[in-house]
Structures are given as structure tokens and as C-alpha cells.
Symmetry: C2
Subunit: 209 residues, 2 copies
């Protein structure tokens, strides 16, 4: 069996080059304690800026691209098409919901207190996409990434063609929090990190990888 896979990206940014150059990956089984002692200090030390998210939430940027907004400060969110999607066909549908609440970094911060927020995103996000794009709910996958690309809670809505590498389905997240309010504080979460990821370095320093 001969199987050839080719990917051409043009133009390629430094980030693309880095992505395809070094492919070595490592599996991390991050316990709740690892998060507090290794991951959280790492996130805080990097002080990743999410000002661009605040600009979207405050309508200082991309206001004309908003597909749906629920302005409620607790359960509300803004839904926009992702820049990876040109909106010309539904094959690669990709929207992102940014929550109005600003104190939720990731999946790890979620407790059962956030269930009204999560249920609201699930329901209204799917309804908006069905209305705007005639895309039925059984064709849309709704999920969070862990680790996320940036530490302001956001939810992905994509067609089924996208990979699921770091994905946590929103329906699973909701069921887990219904069963255990502290599920994401206590749970060991497994994910992969690239060899050149600084977080991996922290795990190695902590003797956890």
C-alpha cells in the first residue's frame, strides 16, 4: 500500500513553518494539582494578552461580523465566523463564541455555576447557526479546546470535517459538571504538547513528563 499525503500552504508564516518543521509531540496527563503548581503559574508568567477578545466584546473590532449576540453579562456571548472560514461554503463552517464573562480562563475554571452559561451557548449558538446558514444541529460539532490557544473562555462551532485533537465536546462538559460540580478542578486531563512548547518545559522541570 502506497499512501502519500501532501500539504501545501502559501504564503507560509513563521508560525506555519514552525508548525510543520518540528512534529515531535508529547502526551501530558495534567492532574488538578499539576494545573495549580505548573500550568497556572506558566499561564500567569506569560501574561498572554486577550485584549483583542475584549475589543470584540466591546464592539471596537469586528462588530460588522457578529452573527449573534446575547448581551447578558453572566450567560451572554458573541458569536462570529472564524477567520479560517471564508463563509463561501458550509464544508468548512467555523464559528467561535466568546463569553462576556472575563474571569474564565479555560475548561479548568468551569464549575457547575457555569452551567447556565454553557447551556445558553449550546442552545442559542446552534439555533443561530441553523437560522443563518441552514446548518442542522446534527452537522455541527460544539467544543472547547484544552489547552486553548488563548485564555479567555470560547467555544468552537465547526462542521464535522475538522480534527478533534484537543476537543472537549460541550455536551460532555455540561454532563460532567452536572454530575460533579468540581469535575474540571479535580480531573486529570490528557493533551499533547509539541516538543518546543514552553509548557512542556515546565512539566519536565516539575518531573511530570
Amino acid at each position: 500500500i502506497l499512501e502519500i499525503k501532501t500539504t501545501v500552504i502559501c504564503p507560509a508564516t513563521q508560525k506555519h513553518v514552525k508548525k510543520y518543521l518540528s512534529q515531535e509531540m508529547f502526551l501530558v496527563e495534567e492532574t488538578g494539582e499539576d494545573y495549580l503548581s505548573t500550568t497556572l503559574p506558566y499561564i500567569e508568567s506569560q501574561s498572554f494578552s486577550v485584549q483583542w477578545v475584549y475589543n470584540i466584546l466591546e464592539k471596537k473590532a469586528e462588530a460588522d461580523r457578529i452573527v449573534f449576540e446575547d448581551p447578558d453579562p453572566d450567560t451572554g456571548f458573541v458569536l462570529l465566523p472564524d477567520f479560517k472560514w471564508d463563509q463561501k461554503q458550509l464544508d468548512d463552517l467555523y464559528l467561535t463564541a466568546f463569553v462576556h464573562q472575563r474571569n474564565i480562563k479555560s475548561l479548568r475554571d468551569l464549575t457547575s455555576d457555569h452551567l447556565p452559561l454553557l447551556r445558553n451557548i449550546s442552545k442559542k449558538g446552534k439555533e443561530s447557526i441553523q437560522k443563518q446558514y441552514c446548518m442542522p444541529a446534527c452537522k455541527v460539532r460544539v467544543y472547547l479546546h484544552y489547552q486553548p490557544s488563548y485564555y479567555h473562555l470560547h467555544v468552537h462551532f465547526t462542521s464535522l470535517n475538522y480534527g478533534l485533537e484537543r476537543a472537549h465536546l460541550l455536551t460532555d462538559v455540561i454532563m460532567n459538571l452536572e454530575a460533579d460540580p468540581q469535575y474540571y478542578q479535580n480531573r486529570t486531563i490528557t493533551y499533547t504538547l509539541r516538543a518546543d512548547d514552553n509548557l512542556l518545559l515546565r512539566f519536565r522541570e516539575a518531573g511530570r513528563c
Copy 2:
């Protein structure tokens, strides 16, 4: 941005042709009740043969390819390289563990009674792979598929380069069963089905998709 992806498979079987011809996928949220009323009758009506697995377990086939065996009838398993892996490099490492117990169709049948089996597979499978291939545990992903390709419980051991579409990590399965003995009987499990999958037809007939 121009992004071209090409896959060449040669020679291609009918199954390969089918796989790449029709790509429409549907998301199924299978409740525990759906499993009993729709999925299980479908599996039983198809009477998929797993005789080839029994042949492996009984050493009537592929005995020379066995990497490790634990012969215990309750917690034992046979570990073999998958045919997709030519064993020439570790990049695409792929082994499968077949359990000796014959009454476990899939993830759905697992209860906390199976924890000794699952922990045994996790521990001894990873140890064998480390010993045989010098592949450390943090480079190997251990998971079950749902739906599986065949209904005799088996566990995949792969390098991190493989996709995760239907994967349920074995560490997650173990933690879920530790928390709730009936987790996989009661839980809604989400997966995708291709448009031409007969199981999807059953879900449509049941008005569940």
C-alpha cells in the same frame, strides 16, 4: 492562503473508494436508551463475525506476531502490531490489544467490574511497548473507539500522529468507571456516522437524527 492536501492510496480497495467518495457525516448523540433500542438491535441483526479475533486469541492465526500476552481469562489480553504499521519506524507505531474475555462488545458494556482488566491492559501494554520498541509512555496514546470497527473489546496503542475522531482515552475510561460504575450504560455518547452507514438509517427511523 493556498492550502492543498492530497492523499494517494494504491492499490485502493472498494472500502477505500467508498471512504473517500462520500464524505457527508452526521453527529449522533446516542443516549443509553438509544443504545438499547436502536444500536444494540442493529449490531445483533448484522451478526458481525469476530471469528478472526478468536483465531488470534486461540493462536490459530498470527501467533508469530504476538508482542505480549497475558493469558489470564479475566484480565488477560493479546497485544499485536496492527497491519497498518510496518514496524519499520516508530512514527506510525500502532498496536492493538485484544481482550481474552469474549462477552464485551464495546465501551457500552464496560462497568467498574472491568477496571482490573482495563488497568492491566494500560499498565502491561505500555510496559511491553516501552520494552519492545523503546517507546516511552508519554509518546503513546491508548484508547478505545466508539463505535468500534468490530464488536470484541480491543484497545489501540498508537503514536501521537494518529487522529482522535472516535477515540476514548483509556485513562479517561478508567477514571469514569471509578467515579460511576454504570457510566457507560447511562452516558450519552457522541460520535459521527457517515451518510451511508446503516446505523444512521436506524437512528433516522427511530426519529433520533
